[in-house]
């Protein structure tokens, strides 16, 4: 973790942050976690629309799967209730497992697609699941493509 942070600092120093774009939540389907797929104007020259939409749609799918109310969530809920929820002290919930998957996906997207274009995605969980923050760096031939996903120095919990 320390080395990744160090590389990100380098990215930040060599390619200065121009601006940030925030993709807001889409509440048309209720309170489930879903982000708008509307393509922001600031990214127009930086990335192809299809790539961006693909990323957001995949994230939306993952969140929808995490929040799905079906057989598995019932089972988890009933089992946990029967043990007075003590089982959650040792077991990871399904939602947390999917969040880990999402975090890996964002990291991978940053490495492969966004960092080479001078962009950086921030995991929504670090912004209270309110927005997807996209940092736009000035094009200074940066591409230190060893940049990774989360810019925070903390361990997400």
């Amino acid at each position: 973790m320390a080395t990744e942070f160090h590389n990100l600092q380098e990215l930040r120093h060599s390619a200065s942050l121009a601006t940030k774009v925030f993709i807001q939540r889409d509440y048309s389907d209720g309170t489930i976690c879903k982000f708008q797929t509307k393509f922001p104007a600031e990214l127009d020259s930086r990335i192809e629309r299809s790539l961006f939409e693909e990323t957001v749609k995949t994230l939306n799918c993952c969140y929808a799967e995490a929040e799905k109310i079906g057989g598995q969530s019932y089972l988890e809920g009933c089992l946990a209730c029967a043990t007075a929820y003590i089982v959650f002290l040792c077991m990871e919930t399904r939602y947390e497992k999917i969040l880990k998957k999402i975090s890996m996906y964002i990291q991978e997207q940053n490495e492969k697609i966004y960092a080479p274009r001078g962009l950086l995605l921030t995991d929504p969980i670090e912004r209270g699941m309110r927005v997807i923050e996209i940092s736009i760096f000035e094009d200074s031939g940066s591409t230190s493509s060893s940049s990774t996903g989360s810019p925070s120095s903390g361990t997400a919990q």
Binding site: G30, T31, E67, I69, T93, G128, R130, S152, A156
Partner: protein, 385 residues
């Protein structure tokens, strides 16, 4: 020329969180500031059950069945577990917007409002979204600098926006929101059962014993019974009523907040867009839905660069920063006195939230929906102010 030490202090994020919560166990436990009524709740439950185990259970185990105390123990453990889970967990607090996000939203609002003539009041900050073919208004929170998601509300006691805000419950010492509503409901339900159970078996015990030795001598032998009956009698009405009320709310997929405000009632108003129009489905969603994780990173590590040689007092250094290492260059000169007002002078220019002064109680008497604040606010030193 004095040497300046650059120290890196590692702290956890909960120490710098805005809002009026108390944190314990290095950020694992999160509660409201006023905990007096919570201690009362705990005392009543543990006290009454102890009396029951001491006075009634030996007699009932022998004369009726040993299953009676066993079931009582299980129920008691479940009640306490649910209470602690409700009280100690994050109700679904939404973290405040960082400065860049806040500015972005401000720019969007200004763009949407267009030109406001000087002297004219700017229009209220409301966003309309369509959910399930109903128009729902999202309000802007001036404290947290965000547009509140649907069903979220700002708790004035805890000074946080809480997702799917139900109410602030002084009896559990915490807000009840998306993440801990089911524990709260199970707590009231199991407490109702426990109260009825103890009450019923108290009566049974008194009757059985009176048959043998007379009523007065029964009371003399087991004086705890009177106390238990009193507590249970008064608790019964309130807790069973509350459980019934929340069962009604769950079946309609409503929150207490929405019910009190009358958001979905009345002909002219919007119908509840979150209800599945099916009682079973609504209950399943609320009680058996997924367990949402906390989005408030309490135990994350934060590095701070401090250029002052003074000892870093964690509580006095409560600036507004909840983001990554931005070096504090402001507190270099003055000797660091552990004075509550020091941080006001040393406030950096990024205004992440104007309300967060240090532990001086500004709005210490907020209106509480259920019962008045019984105990004076306890000042907890390890809290995040």
């Amino acid at each position: 020329m004095s040497a300046v030490m650059i120290t890196r202090k590692v702290s956890r994020k909960w120490e710098k969180l805005p809002g009026k919560n108390t944190f314990c166990c290095d950020g694992r436990v999160m509660m409201a500031r006023q905990k007096g009524v919570f201690y009362l709740t705990l005392f009543l439950i543990i006290g009454t059950c102890s009396l029951f185990f001491a006075f009634e259970c030996p007699y009932l185990a022998v004369h009726l069945s040993p299953a009676i105390p066993v079931f009582a123990v299980l129920l008691f453990v479940f009640v306490v577990a649910m209470l602690l889970r409700t009280s100690f967990s994050d109700p679904g607090v939404l973290p405040r917007a960082l400065p860049e996000e806040a500015n972005f939203i401000e720019m969007e609002i200004e763009a949407a409002n267009g030109n406001v003539m000087a002297g004219q009041r700017p229009p209220p900050r409301i966003k309309n979204v369509q959910i399930n073919n109903q128009i729902v208004k999202l309000k802007y929170c001036y404290t947290c600098k965000i547009f509140r998601p649907p069903r979220a509300s700002h708790c004035s006691i805890c000074d946080n926006c809480v997702d799917r805000f139900d109410h602030h419950c002084p009896w559990v010492g915490n807000c009840v929101g998306k993440r801990n509503y089911r524990y709260f409901y199970l707590f009231t339900l199991s407490l109702s059962l426990l109260t009825i159970y103890i009450f019923a078996f108290d009566i049974v015990h008194v009757v059985l014993r009176s048959v043998d030795s007379g009523f007065l001598s029964t009371i003399k032998e087991t004086p705890g019974t009177v106390l238990e009956v009193l507590v249970c009698f008064f608790t019964l009405w309130s807790v069973v009523g509350l459980t019934g009320f929340h069962t009604y709310l769950i079946s309609l997929n409503q929150t207490t907040n929405e019910d009190i405000k009358g958001s979905w009632s009345g002909k002219n108003r919007v119908q509840n867009p979150y209800s599945h129009k099916n009682i079973i489905k609504n209950c399943c969603e609320v009680l058996c839905g997924p367990n949402y994780p906390s989005v408030l990173d309490r135990r994350g590590l934060m590095l701070e660069d401090s250029t002052s040689p003074a000892p870093p007092a964690a509580s006095a250094a409560s600036t507004h920063k909840s983001s990554n290492p931005v070096s504090q260059t402001t507190k270099s000169s003055a000797p660091l006195i552990l004075n509550e007002h020091t941080p006001d002078e040393a406030k950096p220019s990024i205004g992440a939230g104007p309300q967060k002064s240090t532990s001086s109680p500004k709005e210490e008497k907020p209106p509480s929906p259920t019962s008045p604040n019984a105990v004076a606010p306890a000042v907890i030193k390890e809290s995040a102010h």
